[in-house]
Every structure is written in structure tokens, then in C-alpha cells.
């Protein structure tokens, strides 16, 4: 196991009371595998991933018995100094919007060489040369010239390539990609995803791909965890999950996607209602107010994620579909 997250609960104090955007999440990730973390906005997927690297804002609290074990190290007990040796070196991250994730007043070349100097102890000159190579490797033509540009001078696709090159600079063993294509145009999305798949295979690194798009997860991951309102509600290998969606939420989410093959004016299947308020989540199963199959038990008791075996097809549902 490369990464094990156990019983993770993140508590953020707000002026309207504390919220738990991640509320008791456990999952594992094997070396070299890709995990798709799927859910709608507000389900806690971004917070979960930031928690792994200790990147949550001040005042945030993790549950006492939470464990984030990366390669045998307990990350959530590591001091800042120790985490800084992992961040960017062992675990790297890509963000949704490459425009805001790059420093607007620093050339991209310099931003790229930072991790090289910091983690690998390269001289500025070597780092610069290596940065250009990295840019070229992510498919940026004229890398040497472009290294001297500022982020706003590049197109969205190129910016995201820079961000990818930066994340992969120190050949990390885990890459966390937080909606890496959401801010990009469709034609470019496919290119970036292909690039990520290619680099993932070539470098044999593990990857967590956060997305709201089940179709994308279907094509680009080996395992999927579906999150709803701070909890993982279903997880399985990708093939198994799509062949056999057991949790009503997963199926409803999948069915709600408009498809290009649909005839015009076809009525879409929807999920009624809104995602729950994070401050006051519903009792029992959090999906029960919107679920077509909900029983009294669903509204009273919270379903555990079963079976225990982390590699099995697990569902948190009292009435899984068959």
C-alpha cells in the first residue's frame, strides 16, 4: 500500500458552527494505481486531498484517531518541516485552475526550477536546464523561450502543462490531480488527460484523480471512490463499479449526465432536491432525503461502508441495488 487513509474527519470552525466537509473517510491506494475520487461540488473531495498533504487552512482540525499513512509514514503527525520533505518530492499536486495556481509575477521557468533546487539540491543553472527539459517532456514546444514567460502569456492548456511539469519535477510517487481539466476547453481536456495517463504509465506513479465527471473517471482510473456529503458511499475497481452500481446515488449521478447519443428533448433522469447543507447534514444516510429507495431505517441509521475488505466492492447503503 502506498497510501492509507483511516477514519479521517476534518472539522472546520465557521461562524455558523463547525462543519465537517470530510466526515470519517477511509481508503487505500496501491503503488502505481489511479484512484478516481468522484463527487459533486461540496462533497469534500478537495478538502480530503488537501488534508493528505496538510494543506488545510489554520484552525482546521483532524479527528484524533485519523491516520494518513504514506509509505509507512504517519503524515498527520509529521511536523511542518517533515511534511515539506514529502510535499513536492514524494507527493505532488495539480490544481483545478492553472491560472490561479501559478504565481502571476514569476516566470514559469523559475517556478518550475524551484522544486528542483529545493528538493534535489540542483544549482540554479542545472535546474533551469532541467526545467526546460521537463517542459518539453510535457509537450510544450519552444520550451526554452516559453520558460521566460509569465503565466498570463500562455494559454490555459499550456499553463496546465506547466503545472503538470512542475508537479512531476521531482518524480513523485503520488500525484494528486484536483479537477485538472475542469477549467479547460473540451478539446484541451482530452489532451491533458492523455498526457496525464501517459506520464502515469511512464513514471509508474500512483495518482488520485479528483473529478465530478463519472465518465472521465471511468476511462482514466483503476479504482473509484464516490463521495457524497463528506463520506465515501461506494468504492470498487472501475470495471466492477460501472458494471454493477449498487449505491442509488452513484447510479442516479451516472444517469443524470446528458449524453451525446440521446435524442433531442429527451427528459433526463434527475436527482431531486439539493445536496445537503454541510452545517446540518441529514440524519442517517445522508443521501436518504433525495433517494428513491430510502426506507425508515435509512433516515434513522447511518449505513457503514461494507464489506471491511478495502479491495472489495464496498457500499454504504442499507438497500444496495443489484
Amino acid at each position: 500500500m502506498l497510501l492509507m487513509v483511516n477514519r479521517l474527519r476534518v472539522r472546520i470552525p465557521t461562524d455558523r458552527g463547525p462543519v465537517c466537509p470530510v466526515d470519517g473517510v477511509s481508503f487505500t491506494l496501491e503503488r502505481g494505481k489511479t484512484l478516481g475520487l468522484v463527487g459533486e461540488s461540496g462533497c469534500g473531495k478537495t478538502v480530503l486531498c488537501r488534508a493528505i498533504l496538510g494543506l488545510l487552512p489554520k484552525g482546521t482540525m483532524l479527528s484524533k484517531d485519523a491516520e494518513i499513512i504514506f509509505d509507512g509514514q504517519l503524515l498527520n503527525r509529521l511536523p511542518e518541516r517533515g511534511l515539506n520533505k514529502i510535499r513536492g518530492r514524494e507527493v505532488a499536486m495539480i490544481f483545478q485552475d492553472p491560472m490561479t495556481a501559478l504565481n502571476p509575477v514569476m516566470t514559469v521557468g523559475r517556478q518550475l526550477s524551484e522544486p528542483l533546487v529545493h528538493h534535489l539540491g540542483m544549482t540554479a543553472k542545472d535546474a533551469k536546464r532541467k526545467a526546460t527539459q521537463l517542459m518539453a517532456a510535457t509537450g510544450i514546444p519552444n520550451a526554452e523561450q516559453r520558460a521566460r514567460l509569465y503565466p498570463h502569456q500562455l494559454s490555459g492548456g499550456l499553463r496546465q502543462r506547466i503545472a503538470i511539469a512542475m508537479a512531476l519535477a521531482c518524480e513523485p510517487r503520488l500525484l494528486i490531480a484536483d479537477e485538472p481539466t475542469t477549467a479547460l476547453d473540451a478539446t484541451i481536456q482530452a489532451d491533458i488527460l492523455d498526457l496525464l495517463s501517459f506520464l502515469h504509465n511512464e513514471k509508474r506513479m500512483a495518482m488520485i484523480l479528483i473529478t465530478h465527471d463519472l465518465r472521465m473517471a471511468a476511462a482514466r482510473t483503476q479504482n473509484i471512490a464516490v463521495m457524497y456529503a463528506g463520506k465515501i458511499v461506494e468504492t470498487a475497481t472501475t470495471g466492477e463499479l460501472f458494471a454493477n452500481m449498487r449505491m442509488p446515488y452513484t447510479r442516479a449521478l451516472f444517469n443524470a449526465i446528458p449524453r451525446i447519443g440521446n435524442p433531442t428533448h429527451r427528459v433526463l433522469k434527475t436527482i431531486v432536491g439539493q445536496p445537503p447543507n454541510p452545517i446540518d447534514p441529514p440524519q442517517g444516510c445522508r443521501f436518504s432525503p433525495r433517494c428513491l429507495y430510502a426506507s425508515l431505517k435509512c433516515k434513522a441509521e447511518e449505513p457503514p461502508l461494507l464489506p471491511e475488505d478495502p479491495l472489495a466492492h464496498r457500499t454504504a447503503c442499507w438497500h444496495p441495488l443489484t
Binding site: E40, L214, A219
Partner: protein, 319 residues
């Protein structure tokens, strides 16, 4: 299928913004299309291609730099200010960002009542009754009358916007990326709502989106836009099944490619620096990204030509 009355006829509109003294940005350079009664026309393209500028030009906010916009025969670019204000209830718009589209200091009831207020239609209590009736129709609890936009979710705000637009009984509804900032489950709800209202009110719609799948679900006809110009236009079934313009093909492929990974190829589409049409180079705007280009493509700009009854394309190779 349709009563063939033309509701909207857009003729060769151009939209230019002056950025500085000598620099102008051409957001739209010569776009024409029409929409028949009861029809939904989809306008697709990537960010920055000028599709929102087309919407705003039709709304005359601001008016196009040149070209004509005929709404049921009235040229909106020609009529007087006063006439335009009288015509406005006939064509309404729904924006992408519902947070920005609703006044944060106004209750949603007041927002939806604004058209009645402007028309001086009915007493206060009558207005409230009409508003609450409309709220129920678009699926907002009428009890929410006195809430403010930030107390609602994005999907609910979008419903408020739709309600406000429908209060005037518009003949044409322009939807500018109405579902793009919504989550999948809510997106489907709003699409269904629009479909439902279309049937109930016999709405004619211009539906702008970057999402080809959404457009396919909603629109009878589709126009594809690239860098301020239309590439092709046709019925959605035909266009999705037999894309003619290479750009349409790339767009459709991209949707499929998200689900079907492929090896890295050298021909990547996103490696250009500037996504904006700086100065238009001669020839077809797409020729630099096109893998079927011929000599003529970099010399003369292709015109929109009719291929079959309802199918137009602007491409030297595929016409």
C-alpha cells in the same frame, strides 16, 4: 414540424470592442442565422469564441457594431430607444452566473416582480400572487419570496433567473450557458425545467453552451462557432452524426476522447499561445489547427455555403 414563422433573424452581425485607441478586438465577425418559432437553436464553441457576445448583441447590450437583428420583423438595431424598451419584454436572457445575475440586496420576490414593476402591472398584492405562481412553476417554494440570493443554492438562483425572464411572456429566450456552473444532478433538473417550460409556453430559444452533450439534449438545430465566426449549422441529429467542418469533428472527438484514452500524438491542439483572435490572419480561421488544410485555406476565408436543405458549412474542403 414547426410553424415556419421566423422569430429571430440575425444578419451578418459584427461585434468589436475598442481596447485602446488603435486596437480593437473582434469578438464576432459576421454571424448570421435565424430561429423559427418553437425552435431551439444551440450555439456551441469553446471559451472566447464569441458566443456570449452574440447573445449580448441580440439583446442590444451592447448593440452589434454592424449587422441587423430582426425580431419578428422589427430591426432591433434600428428602432428608437423608446421602441426598444417597449420591445424588450419580447426577448429575454438567462445568464450563466446566477450569483452575478441577481442583485444581492434584492429579495428574489422583488427580482422576479421587476418586469411587472416596470410594466406597472397590477397592485402590489396582485404582483405578489403572480410572482408566487411563477415561482411554483419553475420549482421554487413560494415561501422563499423574501429570501435573498445568497440564501439559495446555485440551481435555485438559476430557477429565479428563469422565472424573472418568463414573467414578461417572452417570444424568444436566450440562455447563455445556463447550466455550465451547476453540478450534474442539478444541471439535469434545470435542463428538464427548460424543456418543460418550452413545451408549456411554446418558447423559442437560443441555447448557448460549450457542452455538446447538453446541446444535443436540448436543441433542434446547432450552430458551431470558432473565433467569432460560424463554422457550420444544421439540425442536431444530422450535425452530430455527420460533422462536416473539421472543427466540429474535433469537438465531437474530444467528447469521445475523454472516455477513450489514446496514446500521445504529436498533433496537439492546445499548444498555441493565444486563444484570442488577435489580428485575424488571412484565410480560414481554423487552418492552423486543421489537419485537412489545403493551399486555399490559408489564403481566402471560406463563405457559409448550403450543402443540403438545412445544412450550411464554411469550409473549402468539405463544402
Amino acid at each position: 414540424m414547426f410553424n415556419q414563422r421566423t422569430i429571430l433573424d440575425v444578419q451578418n452581425i459584427r461585434v468589436e470592442f475598442r481596447i485602446e485607441k488603435r486596437k480593437t478586438l473582434r469578438a464576432v465577425s459576421g454571424v448570421s442565422f435565424d430561429i423559427k418559432q418553437g425552435e431551439t437553436l444551440g450555439l456551441v464553441g469553446e471559451s472566447g469564441c464569441g458566443k456570449s457576445s452574440v447573445a449580448r448583441a441580440i439583446m442590444q447590450l451592447p448593440p452589434p457594431t454592424s449587422g441587423r437583428v430582426l425580431l419578428e420583423g422589427d430591426d432591433l438595431t434600428e428602432v428608437s430607444k423608446k421602441q426598444l424598451r417597449q420591445l424588450r419584454p419580447k426577448f429575454q436572457i438567462v445568464f450563466q452566473d446566477s450569483i452575478s445575475a441577481l442583485n444581492p440586496r434584492q429579495t428574489i420576490g422583488a427580482a422576479i416582480a421587476m418586469p411587472l414593476h416596470i410594466a406597472n402591472n397590477g397592485s402590489r398584492s396582485e404582483q405578489k400572487f403572480m410572482v408566487q405562481k411563477m415561482m411554483a412553476q419553475v420549482g421554487i417554494d413560494p415561501e422563499y419570496y423574501n429570501l435573498r440570493p445568497f440564501e439559495l443554492s446555485g440551481g435555485q438562483c438559476q430557477r429565479v433567473q428563469i422565472a424573472r425572464a418568463l414573467m414578461t411572456n417572452p417570444h424568444l429566450l436566450i440562455c447563455d450557458e445556463p447550466v455550465s456552473s451547476l453540478d450534474v444532478s442539478v444541471q439535469a433538473q434545470i435542463i428538464n425545467l427548460l424543456e418543460d417550460l418550452r413545451c408549456r409556453y411554446g418558447l423559442t430559444m437560443l441555447f448557448i453552451s460549450h457542452d455538446l452533450a447538453v446541446v444535443k439534449n436540448v436543441c433542434d438545430r446547432v450552430a458551431v462557432m470558432y473565433m467569432g465566426k460560424l463554422c457550420e449549422i444544421g439540425s442536431s441529429d444530422d450535425l452530430y452524426r455527420f460533422p462536416l467542418h473539421p472543427y466540429t469533428e474535433i469537438l465531437l472527438n474530444a467528447v469521445a476522447r475523454i472516455e477513450q484514452p489514446r496514446a500521445l500524438s504529436d498533433a496537439q491542439t492546445d499548444v498555441m499561445d493565444s486563444p484570442f483572435p488577435a489580428g485575424s490572419p488571412p484565410g480560414c480561421r481554423f487552418h492552423q489547427r486543421c489537419n485537412m488544410k489545403q493551399g486555399i485555406c490559408s489564403e481566402t476565408e471560406p463563405e457559409m455555403k448550403r450543402v443540403r436543405s438545412d445544412r450550411w458549412v464554411a469550409c473549402h474542403v468539405r463544402e
